[in-house]
Symmetry: C2
Subunit: 241 residues, 2 copies
C-alpha cells in the first residue's frame, strides 16, 4: 500500500452508502445533462447555480432572488418551468451575472445525498470541464469518490465513461483498488476516440434524442473542456473556484 | 420493440430492487466462488445443495439430515466449519450422493433476496456451467435478470464478466436495453481469451490468492463448462434439472 490517497467510483446513488465521504472529495457526475449544464452556465458567467430538489422550490427561490428557475423531469423541461436542463440554453447572452436555480432527476438528488453523508468537498464534473476537475483532484491530494448519478438509481454508461476519463488522467496520483474504477477506465479507453458514435448504444440517448431530438446536447455533453471551470459546492450554491 | 423477452443485469444486490423478478428467471452469479462451488458439487453427484444464511444453521441442518456443513466468511473457511467454499473440495469421491449445506458471504444472501422478491425461477450460474445456463435461458423464453452477487454490495468484475459471457451467447434471443448489460458484454469480449491473465487486476483476486493462495480455485472458477449442470432452486434446495 502506498501513501497516495484512494480513489473509488460509485456507479449509482444506491451504492453511495458503501463509501466514506467524510474525508473525501466527491465529484458529482451527471453527464446527460445536469453537470454539463452547470459547467456551461458557470463558464458563461452565471453568478452561481443553486441546486434544489423540487420545482416549487426552484420557482420560490428564483423569485426571491431574481434568478432563473430551470429544471427537467424525465428528460424534458419540468412542468411549470420555462427553462430546462440543456447546456445550450445557457449562453453568455442569457446567463451572465444571473443565478440559475436548477432541479433535475438524478444529479440534484446525488448532491443532496453527498451533503447528508458529510462529504469533505463536493464538486461537479462532466466532459465539458474534465481538465478543471482533474487539476483540482491532483492538486487537492485528498481521497476521491467519483459519484455517478445514473438514471433513477440504475447504472448508466455515460457517467461511467466520464469517471473513466478522470481515472485515465489522474490514476498515477492515486491508490486505486476498485473494480468499478478499473471497469470505468477500460470502457473509457475503448471508446474515447468515438464517444459521440458510441452514444446511440446508451439507454439515455434514446430518451434524449429519439424522444426529444437533443443530439446537439449530446455532442456538447461529450466534448472535453468546452466549459472548463470548476464548480465547487458551498453554502447551498455551486460557484466557480 | 420486439416481442422477445427482456434481459437486464443487476450489478450488485443493492441494485436488485430496481428489477421486477416476479415473471423473470434470475441467475445468481457469485463466480468467486459460491456458484462455481455449487456447480462443482452437483456435477460431482451431490444430491443437492442447501444454501443457508448462517454457520449455526449450516451445522444444525447438516446434522439433522446427515449432510456436509460448509461455508466461508471473508474468503476463508467459516469458524466452526471443516469445509469451505472451494469448488475443488467437492470431488466425486467426497460429495457423491451427499447433501451440501452451504453458507457464503454474498451468493447466499442474493439468493434469499431473490426469494423475498418472489422470483419466478432461480438458477445459479458461473463459468463452470455457462452452457447449461445459456441453454436454459434460451429454451425457457422468459424475462431474465442476471444477478451479480458482488462483494458486500460492491460491484465486482468477475461476476460482471460472467454476465457478459451469458449475454454474448444469448443476446439474439432477448430484447436488451440496459447499459449494465452492454458494459458487461463489452468487458467480457475484451477479456474472454485471457480471463486468468486478467484476474490479478481484480480486487477479489488479491483477497483469495495473495491472502489464501487459491490460484487453482481462480482458474477453475474461470473455466467454461467444466461442471456443466444446471442448478435450479426449489423448496429450499438447489438441485440439477
Amino acid at each position: 500500500m502506498s501513501n497516495k490517497p484512494s480513489l473509488h467510483t460509485s456507479l449509482s446513488p444506491a451504492l453511495l452508502h458503501l463509501y466514506d465521504l467524510s474525508s473525501s472529495v466527491i465529484v458529482i457526475i451527471d453527464v446527460f445533462r445536469a453537470t454539463s449544464t452547470i459547467a456551461s452556465a458557470l463558464y458563461n458567467g452565471a453568478k452561481c447555480v443553486i441546486p434544489v430538489d423540487s420545482v416549487p422550490k426552484a420557482i420560490e427561490i428564483s423569485k426571491s432572488i431574481g434568478g432563473i428557475a430551470a429544471g427537467e423531469r424525465d428528460g424534458k423541461i419540468a412542468e411549470g418551468l420555462e427553462h430546462g436542463n440543456s447546456p445550450l440554453e445557457y449562453g453568455r447572452d442569457f446567463i451572465e451575472n444571473k443565478t440559475l436555480v436548477l432541479t433535475t432527476t438524478n444529479g440534484t438528488r446525488l448532491l443532496q445525498m453527498a451533503l447528508d453523508k458529510n462529504a469533505d468537498t463536493i464538486i461537479s464534473g462532466s466532459f465539458p470541464n474534465l481538465s478543471a476537475v482533474c487539476d483540482f483532484l491532483t492538486t487537492e491530494k485528498k481521497h476521491v469518490v467519483l459519484g455517478c448519478a445514473g438514471w433513477k438509481d440504475r447504472f448508466n454508461l455515460e457517467d461511467t465513461l466520464f469517471a473513466g476519463a478522470i481515472i485515465n488522467r489522474v490514476k498515477k496520483q492515486f491508490n486505486i483498488h476498485c473494480d468499478s474504477s478499473l471497469m470505468a477506465e477500460t470502457m473509457y479507453v475503448k471508446n474515447k476516440n468515438s464517444l459521440v458514435d458510441f452514444a446511440p448504444k446508451l439507454t439515455h440517448y434514446h430518451r434524449l434524442v429519439e424522444r426529444f431530438g437533443l443530439i446537439e446536447d449530446i455532442k456538447y455533453c461529450l466534448t472535453a473542456d468546452v466549459a472548463n471551470v470548476l464548480p465547487v459546492y458551498a453554502a447551498g450554491k455551486l460557484s466557480v473556484r
